[in-house]
């Protein structure tokens, strides 16, 4: 793989990664949010694979396949199952992020500001090693911040889970872009952790719904008889 092609593929994967993250804030339909998360997982897989092929590191390529499978197939499948279970019980209105704490137009503008913040904050990191991969670190940090933002402002349990997963996707991307490959054991541990977290959250969501008939987490602030 020559250098120009490498940089182009890397930039394209980063672009898709960022775009999917921003679009999560744009869409209201929870099913669409899960689809976007799957697209982002695939972009992350491609990103890591491109890095692995460029370094000629088979371990990283293997990790890329694993990351792709986990984040583009397995986790979205779990989320879709949780969604299907809630859709049948509470009707179509439950499957939309109807009233986020910050409205959609404002949260998109916030996403743009977060991107600029990420760019400003990561400049020293990029300056340490101005390689094409390091130049893409702001993109990954932007996704982390957007994930936090989704986690804070969205009301549905499922979109908060997606926010949490965006944060994790972003952290993984930062790890691979700044270091040339995370050890298999570390990445395996992190991935397993995420998988378990999603399983637990899925279970928790199901229990919340069984107990309260809704997954709007703001309703759980007050104690009731």
């Amino acid at each position: 793989m020559n250098d120009t092609l490498y940089v182009q593929l890397l930039d394209l994967a980063c672009g898709a990664f960022l775009l999917a993250g921003v679009l999560v804030l744009w869409r209201r339909d929870l099913a669409a949010i899960v689809r976007l998360f799957a697209v982002q997982g695939a972009a992350l897989g491609v990103l890591v694979a491109v890095l692995g092929v460029h370094d000629g590191d088979t371990e990283v390529i293997g990790l890329a396949v694993g990351i792709g499978l986990l984040r583009a197939v397995l986790l979205p499948w779990l989320l879709r199952r949780a969604l299907a279970a809630s859709g049948g019980a509470a009707g179509p209105a439950a499957n939309r992020e109807t009233a986020p704490l910050v409205n959609v137009a404002a949260s998109l503008v916030v996403a743009a500001l977060l991107a600029l913040l990420a760019y400003a904050v990561t400049r020293p990191v990029v300056a340490l090693d101005p390689s094409p991969a390091a130049h893409a670190v702001p993109v990954a940090l932007t996704v982390v911040l957007i994930g936090f933002f989704a986690l804070v402002t969205r009301r549905r349990a499922l979109s908060q889970v997606v926010g949490f997963l965006l944060v994790d996707n972003g952290i993984t991307a930062v790890a691979f872009l700044t270091t040339s490959g995370v050890p298999l054991i570390v990445e395996g541990g992190v991935s397993l952790d995420v998988l378990l977290a999603v399983l637990v959250l899925q279970l928790l969501t199901a229990r919340i719904r069984a107990a309260f008939g809704d997954t709007d987490l703001d309703g759980l602030r007050e104690l009731r008889d």
């Binding site: 930039d11 672009g15 898709a16 137009a105 998109l108 503008v109 990029v126």
Partner: protein
């Protein structure tokens, strides 16, 4: 840039092409829609027939309207013709190249819209005012996005001249497949749809009072004035689609070469026809957005444009 004969001929050809071709594009889009909806359609030439019919009618102005109402249709048509002469449609060697600046072109587009909005207010009817208010809202959200998204493309060129941007893309075609281009392309596509008043922002075929935007503003026009307004809006559609096509796929655009000019004109016509066909086909499957959801869509496209600019700074790995 020196004035060349080929450049002048090219600029003239551009004006003729846009002026004559714009109604044909509208006709083509209506025909595509009609066929996809299972209707026979009125044919590609129908907009020209409509314009001819309108031109023969007697001009009528409503009571109480002033000179603004009478002059307003001329401005969008005139600005559209000027833009047609300067932007790189078929040639990048237009003698008016100095005016082919991103900011100048956006300002000219806005000037036409503002003139029509003022005319809508001048009629003093409820619909005219409502249409003008909606159109201005959309415009206020669209203009920054056009500026920022084309600015993202101009960062790597170092110039906001549209001709220079197209020339640089011609020389380095691999730049088209960068995230900067992709983000800017999506943003520009959304604002093009909004600016030209297509579904999902506005429905050009409706006269339902709750939903119309552009049509409400020009509701009081009739006869030759209406023909001018419709011709101008068809030309704006052609220009914006052509600008999108040439910024991201500039193949066929020629420099100061006379021999390549017919080919460039044909390439432009083909690109705009394809884009228009795709837009019309997409419209069949879409419903109009509620007016209050439109700012959300446009905020989204603005963010994409801003991210494109940001990405052009952080992804400079090459």
């Amino acid at each position: 840039m020196s004035v060349t004969v080929a450049g002048s001929v090219g600029a003239a050809a551009q004006v003729v092409l846009v002026g004559a071709g714009a109604p044909l594009l509208v006709g083509l889009m209506r025909q595509v829609r009609a066929r996809l909806e299972g209707r026979a359609g009125a044919g590609v030439l129908q907009p020209w027939r409509d314009l001819r019919k309108l031109m023969r009618k007697q001009p009528i102005t409503p009571d109480g309207t002033g000179p603004v109402f009478r002059v307003a249709p001329l401005l969008p048509a005139a600005t559209a013709l000027v833009i047609a002469a300067v932007i790189p449609i078929a040639t990048t060697a237009s003698p008016l190249d100095g005016a082919a600046d991103l900011f100048a072109v956006t300002a000219l587009l806005a000037l036409g819209t503002v003139a029509l909005a003022l005319a809508g207010l001048d009629t003093g009817t409820a619909f005219g005012g409502m249409g003008a208010s909606r159109e201005t809202t959309v415009m206020a959200l669209v203009e920054p996005t056009i500026l920022v998204s084309v600015f993202a493309l101009s960062v790597r060129v170092g110039s906001t001249n549209l001709g220079a941007i197209v020339t640089s893309t011609l020389h380095e075609p691999q730049r088209v497949i960068s995230p900067v281009s992709l983000l800017a392309a999506i943003a520009l596509a959304v604002v093009t749809i909004a600016e030209t008043g297509r579904i999902p922002v506005d429905n050009p075929a409706t006269h339902l009072e709750l939903t119309m935007v552009h049509e409400a503003m020009v509701l009081e026009y009739s006869g030759p004035d209406l023909a001018l307004v419709e011709w101008a809006s068809a030309m704006r559609l052609t220009l914006l689609l052509g600008l999108v096509a040439n910024l991201f796929a500039p193949w066929g655009v020629t420099g100061a070469s006379m021999a390549m000019l017919p080919l460039a004109v044909a390439a432009y016509a083909a690109k705009v026809a394809v884009l228009g066909g795709v837009l019309a086909a997409g419209e069949v499957f879409m419903a109009k957005l509620r007016m209050f959801r439109v700012p959300e869509l446009l905020a989204g496209s603005f963010v994409l444009a801003l991210l494109a600019v940001a990405a052009s700074f952080f992804l400079v790995g090459t």
